[in-house]
């Protein structure tokens, strides 16, 4: 069992403090959901955990397996087992999904074992084919340029494909449900559920309760104004769906 521990995390963008002391511990095998209205800092948390240069950590620490990862570059964090499924996956023209994923898989292997000579092409193809079947992606996707001309649903499925291929210890899913119709959401959720394991911890960031009907969380947290203000089980999500955030705001006012 491994832990991801976020301690008193303060993060700002261009002199504006957005995260004002976030505390959260996630263990492998657990699925946590962070909910909250727009503009409360959910995506900032995701980016800051992954190390986006735009987001400045002002205070606090993030421990992965006991090691503070905040001084590491994003690629080094990925090598330690952190993964971020992007809300808005970026298109990289001219770089095929297969070429990109093989580069990523090999970079991780190499980082964890400098002697590693990389995954063989047949082994990679086999792995990729299996993961693509799991996510109901046609094999032609492997040859398409990364996220270029992909529909919203395709982008999100390819994010999960990457998660499957890289097999992270902790995965952050940033609004993976946004922009998906019910069918696409079902497919993506099925993929995430199939990948759930005792070896992986998941942090789902979402605006809507809807996705939690498909991916059942063990813990639900509410974020307001840069802090986690409420934590509970799945029943907390239900209450939010029925009553909205007003009661949380009231409770935390003043």
């Amino acid at each position: 069992m491994t832990e991801l521990i976020i301690n008193d995390l303060h993060v700002g963008v261009e002199d504006t403090e957005i995260l004002k002391g976030v505390n959260l511990t996630i263990k492998t095998g657990e699925v946590h959901a962070i909910m909250g209205p727009n503009g409360t800092g959910k995506s900032t948390l995701a980016y800051a955990l992954m190390g986006h240069p735009k987001f400045e950590v002002e205070k606090g620490e993030v421990l992965l397996d006991g090691e503070n990862i905040l001084d590491l570059d994003p690629d080094e964090r990925a090598h330690k087992g952190l993964f971020l499924a992007f809300q808005y996956p970026v298109a990289v023209p001219g770089v095929s999904v297969a070429n990109f994923l093989r580069t990523a898989v090999n970079a991780k292997r190499k980082a964890n074992n400098p002697e590693d000579e990389g995954i063989s092409i047949p082994a990679f193809r086999k792995m990729l084919r299996e993961k693509m079947e799991l996510l109901e992606l046609e094999t032609s996707f492997a040859g398409r340029y990364l996220n270029e001309g992909f529909s919203g649903g395709e982008k999100k499925r390819v994010e999960i494909l990457q998660m499957a291929a890289l097999d992270p210890t902790f995965a952050i899913l940033d609004e993976t449900d946004s922009g998906l119709d019910i069918d696409a959401l079902q497919t993506v959720a099925d993929g995430v559920n199939k990948l759930r394991s005792d070896q992986q911890g998941t942090l789902m960031i979402t605006h809507y309760q809807r996705v939690l009907n498909y991916i059942k969380p063990d813990f639900v947290h509410v974020m307001l104004d840069g802090r986690i203000v409420e934590s509970g089980g799945p029943e907390l999500a239900k209450r939010l769906e029925e009553e909205g955030y007003a009661w949380v705001r009231e409770k935390n006012a003043g």
Binding site: P53, D73, D75, A78, V90, V92, P93, G94, T103, A104
Partner: protein, 446 residues
């Protein structure tokens, strides 16, 4: 009024013209004509000549240059052959040619000789096949096209003539190599390709030199290409000169009725390159596609003047040039689509995209259209931009280190031009060269 002398003249006289008593009359006439024009043309000036506006020849020490006079030794030639031709299976080629200061060495598979393909050095071709050579030599590129076209036309002794007869389709590619060794040398060469009606050819030409010379040297290249009715040419040029070289080239193809050219240029080397690439679509239904890939580092300066001339109705042209600039390198692309009066039903496209990897690098991109007609569809676009930080973060978040992420983005950027190269071997070499250039960059990208 005395004209301003901005460039020191190369010291050549009519004694240096590669003609003698045995030369054929068309060769002599052509050389003499070029020499006449050469003497009457001023050196191009970045203030007076629009086409040269962003390219300065001030530090070019032309007065120090000599013609090469056979400088490459036998042992050097063997190295060249091993480096450039030895790596791959000779059986996969239809023929090959090496131009060195010493000689023009050509081989052609017997099956093509039997079918009447002519592959010989240009000077001998002018003697042995004057009726064919005369149809192309000096007719597609004229000495009036520019000072360097005239210089090369007059003094180039080395050259290739490649003729593919009617209906002959050469499936295996033919390879040509220009090898330009030594310092203070002007390497001048002339390539003539003539595809008769319905012929087809894949041709690759690499122009290169030693990489470790510090004193200047010069390459002047005239390439004249005729693609006959219904003929099809796939033409790839690959320039990897050392950074001491000043490279001047006039390259022009004339494409006749229903003929097609797919032309790809990759330019990685030289200190300065000034290349004029033109195709004239002279017959109905002619199609031209031209693609360029360039990568500048250090203080390289590369300029490309492209011209897509629609001189007949129902012609199609497409241009895509893409460049990556690092260090304090500079590129200039000036493109022009010209549609002549009376040439209706035209499709013409041009796009130039540049990626800047350092603060001091610069790319200028100047598209142009000149349309004397109504019924045409022409578009042009040009962009100059940096690597997208969101792309970098995305790739890094997947575990790909920054430098490798940049490399992947650069490869991706070049991919649509790469796809237009019909030879896998060239793609592999090109990827290798690009990788080396990227790996030699300091870590901060400067």
């Amino acid at each position: 009024m005395a004209r301003k002398q901005r460039v020191k003249e190369i010291k050549l006289t009519d004694e240096d013209l590669p003609i003698n008593g045995e030369s054929s009359s068309i060769w002599k006439e052509y050389k003499n004509k070029c020499w006449d024009v050469y003497q009457n043309l001023p050196y191009p000036s970045s203030t007076d000549d629009e086409a040269w506006r962003r390219t300065s020849l001030r530090s070019l020490q032309l007065d120090r240059f000599q013609l090469p006079n056979g400088q490459a030794g036998q042992s050097e030639r063997e190295t060249i052959m091993a480096d450039y031709f030895g790596v791959s299976d000779a059986g996969s080629r239809g023929g090959q040619a090496t131009l060195t200061p010493q000689e023009v060495n050509l081989t052609l598979s017997p099956e093509w000789v039997e079918q009447g393909v002519i592959f010989t050095d240009l000077k001998s071709a002018a003697e042995e096949h004057p009726e064919l050579v005369d149809q192309v030599l000096g007719r597609i590129i004229t000495p009036e096209d520019g000072k360097f076209a005239a210089l090369t036309g007059a003094f180039a002794e080395q050259g290739i003539f490649l003729y593919v007869p009617k209906g002959v389709r050469i499936e295996k590619p033919i390879y040509g190599l220009t090898w330009a060794p030594g310092a203070s040398v002007a390497h001048l060469s002339h390539l003539v390709i003539y595809l008769d009606e319905g012929a087809s050819l894949k041709y690759l030409h690499e122009s290169t030199s030693p990489q470790d010379i510090t004193e200047q040297a010069l390459a002047g290249e005239n390439w004249e290409i005729y693609v006959g009715p219904g003929a099809n040419l796939e033409f790839v040029e690959f320039q990897t000169f050392g950074t001491h070289m000043w490279s001047f080239a006039h390259k022009k193809a004339q494409v006749d009725r229903d003929g097609k050219i797919n032309w790809v240029m990759a330019s990685l080397g030289s200190h300065l390159s000034k290349h004029f690439s033109t195709y004239d679509l002279v017959g109905e239904g002619a199609e031209g596609q031209i693609s360029g890939l360039y990568f500048g580092h250090g203080e390289q300066h590369q300029t490309f003047n492209t011209q897509q001339n629609h001189l007949a109705p129902h012609t199609y042209s497409d241009l895509l040039y893409k460049g990556v600039l690092t260090g304090s390198s500079r590129s200039v692309w000036r493109g022009m689509i010209y549609v002549s009066p009376g040439s209706q039903y035209i499709d013409g496209y041009q796009a130039n995209r540049n990626m800047i990897l350092s603060d001091d690098a610069r790319a200028d991109s100047i598209p142009g259209l000149e349309i004397q007609n109504d019924d045409v569809r022409c578009t042009h676009g040009s962009t100059v931009g940096k690597v997208d930080p969101d792309q970098l973060f995305y790739l890094q978040a997947r575990g790909i280190p920054l430098e490798e992420a940049k490399r992947l983005i650069v490869y991706g950027f070049f991919e649509d031009v790469m796809k237009r190269i019909p030879f896998q071997e060239v793609k592999d070499n090109l990827s290798k060269e690009i990788r080396q250039k990227l790996e030699s960059l300091p870590k901060n990208g400067k």
